[in-house]
């Protein structure tokens, strides 16, 4: 599948022209605001996208990510702020004239048209002759691996196939920007994984600047050049996936991306924090109060089997190469610790263990009252 995709994608640049309009489009979202009644869907969102970059907008539902995408597409208008494509303000350009390819969450193929006609639709709207648009459309279907299904109607295709046709249809118009609105969330896990790879490979080969909206952090982290984490209409942090994971700017990002433990601690003078009996330097934002939670990922905590340790093993979840161990600490604090599965055999529920903090500086957040 992957090799096939890569081969197809390699041919893609010949099909729709790598140096075409999709090649080098920069997109700038400037201070966008949008309110629906009293809810502020967007509250001053600014993002700068480099040509050919794939930016994922990640956030819980209602954080404004879809609104942002729809404003770029031209389906919504911002109350204030503007969208610049290659430096030009497109705010007043109607959706039909924006040259943006869009793939929707729900299946959006036209039921009355075959896969081929669906892909050719955008070309037809651009007054391209029947012969050449059919040629281009079948090349694109070939690119997404659906050449044999060209004559089939949407209802004859599986969900994954439909989304691939939708992707081909969006790419057929050589969009300046590709907009993906949770295109994978209606699909089952296996298909989702394959399509994820396929989209990313194609996008990289074609160099199409892409804005991708998702609530699935794994999707965002695995596909995007940069991930923007959104919350209540604002961007909390935008960074490369590894940076987002290892160096989250805020407690919200830290907890939204990946699994995060909260361990109660006390701030000390000189940017130090004490927790679980050790004192560590603090990095990043320092809350006002001295009662804080130390944020550590499951792989960052140390775990040893000892007599009369500070915790008791409660659960053990096998995840493949690692096993996630649930530990109950004193004071009703539960943490999760990842250990290599080969070592986890000794960590049966009920075992007494000592959980320790890492040696490097840690992130802290105001203590959550629960």
């Amino acid at each position: 599948m992957t090799t096939n995709t890569t081969k197809n994608a390699a041919a893609a640049s010949d099909v729709i022209g790598q140096a075409g309009p999709g090649g080098g489009t920069s997109v700038l979202l400037q201070n966008l605001t949008r309110a629906f009644g009293v809810t502020r869907a967007l509250d001053g969102l600014s993002i700068e996208m480099a040509p050919g970059e794939l930016v994922a907008l990640l956030g819980p539902s209602g954080c404004g990510k879809t609104t942002a995408l729809r404003i770029v597409a031209g389906f919504e208008t911002a109350d204030t702020g503007s969208v610049l494509v290659n430096g030009k303000d497109i705010s007043s350009v109607p959706a039909a004239k924006r040259d943006m390819g869009m793939v929707f969450q729900s299946y959006s193929l036209f039921p009355n048209m075959s896969a081929l006609d669906n892909v050719a639709f955008g070309l037809r709207m651009r007054k391209i002759g029947p012969a050449s648009r059919r040629k281009r459309a079948s090349d694109l279907l070939d690119m997404v691996g659906l050449a044999p299904q060209a004559r089939q109607y949407p209802h004859q295709l599986s969900g994954g196939q439909q989304q691939r046709v939708a992707l081909a249809r969006a790419l057929a118009i050589q969009p300046r920007v590709l907009l993906l609105d949770e295109p994978l969330s209606a699909l089952d896990a296996k298909v989702r994984l394959q399509l994820r790879e396929q989209i990313r490979t194609l996008q990289q080969r074609l160099g199409t600047t892409t804005l991708f909206v998702t609530h699935d952090q794994e999707e965002a982290l695995s596909m995007a050049d940069r991930v923007g984490v959104m919350r209540e209409g604002r961007l909390e942090q935008i960074a490369a996936p590894d940076e987002l994971y290892t160096d989250p700017a805020t407690a919200f990002v830290a907890e939204f991306v990946g699994v995060m433990n909260r361990i109660p601690g006390e701030l000390q003078a000189g940017d130090q924090v004490t927790a679980l009996g050790s004192t560590l330097p603090v990095r990043g934002h320092r809350p006002e109060e001295s009662a804080v939670d130390v944020l550590v990922r499951p792989e960052g905590l140390g775990l040893e089997v000892v007599e009369n340790g500070n915790g008791i093993v409660t659960t053990r979840t096998f995840l493949g190469s690692v096993t996630r161990v649930g530990v109950q600490l004193s004071g009703d604090v539960a943490v999760q610790v990842d250990r290599p599965s080969v070592e986890a055999a000794a960590l049966a529920p009920g075992a007494s263990v000592e959980v320790s903090l890492p040696a490097h500086p840690v992130l802290v957040a105001a203590r959550r009252v629960s």
């Binding site: 597409a73 004239k97 009355n112 709207m125 109607y153 599986s158 939708a166 249809r169 298909v191």
Partner: protein
Amino acid sequence: MAAIAQEAPEGIAPPRRQGIVFRGSTVWRWVVLLVATVYFLLPLWAALRFAGIGAFGSVVSESGFTSSLALSVRLAVITTLITIVLMLPTTVYVHLRLPKLRRLLEGITILPVVIPPVVLIVGVLAIAPGFIKATSLLLALEYVILAMPFAYRAIDAGLRALDLKTIVEASSSLGAGWVSTLWRVVLPNLRTALLSAVVLTVALVLGEFTMASLALFETFPVWIYVNSQTSGQVSVAASLLALFVTWLFLLAITMVGTRQSRKTGGREVTLFTVARQETRGD
């Protein structure tokens, strides 16, 4: 393609519940069918016996037959045209832009079913200006009101099955203007719904008696009634003929509609179940 082969098979039918069905139910099924058949076919057979085969020949030459049938057909065509031209854009617009109004519209469109035709026509006859009263346009306009509940529901169901908002947005993101979107994307996908609306409207117009009779127009049903006063046999033969012709007409429409809808994954078009297009995966 590995991708295709690996996708989970969809829609595995649950095992049929067998064995629970006891033998008696098969017998009952046949009894019900038989009773229904007798109930529906006996009057037709009796009518046929009463009229005699010969009466069918004289129906066509009877005075008023051609003109009344022509009037009914003309009314059916005009009514259908006005209904579609009015209801289609309205319903599409409400679905796209004013979804909150759908409930209200549903309420309004049900009114003609609740209000008896007699009330509708008497009121209109009392206030309608003379130049309208003199033409069959009056009846056509009345029939548009009568057909509204059926036409609206047919189109509404078609639109609901469509995910209109998404395909309209997809269409415009691909560069289609409003006219192209409506003509190439929305209309073709409403074909079955529109056909249902047409079928229901035509059936309604061809069979309507009260309004036509009170407004003093000799439509086909009125002609049959008037004729029954003078020649019972011919009038019954005409009724049977009308039934048969209407039935053939509706059958033709539904067959064409079903073929169209099958192609795009829809179901059979019938008079009472408005075809809903199945969208996979939801």
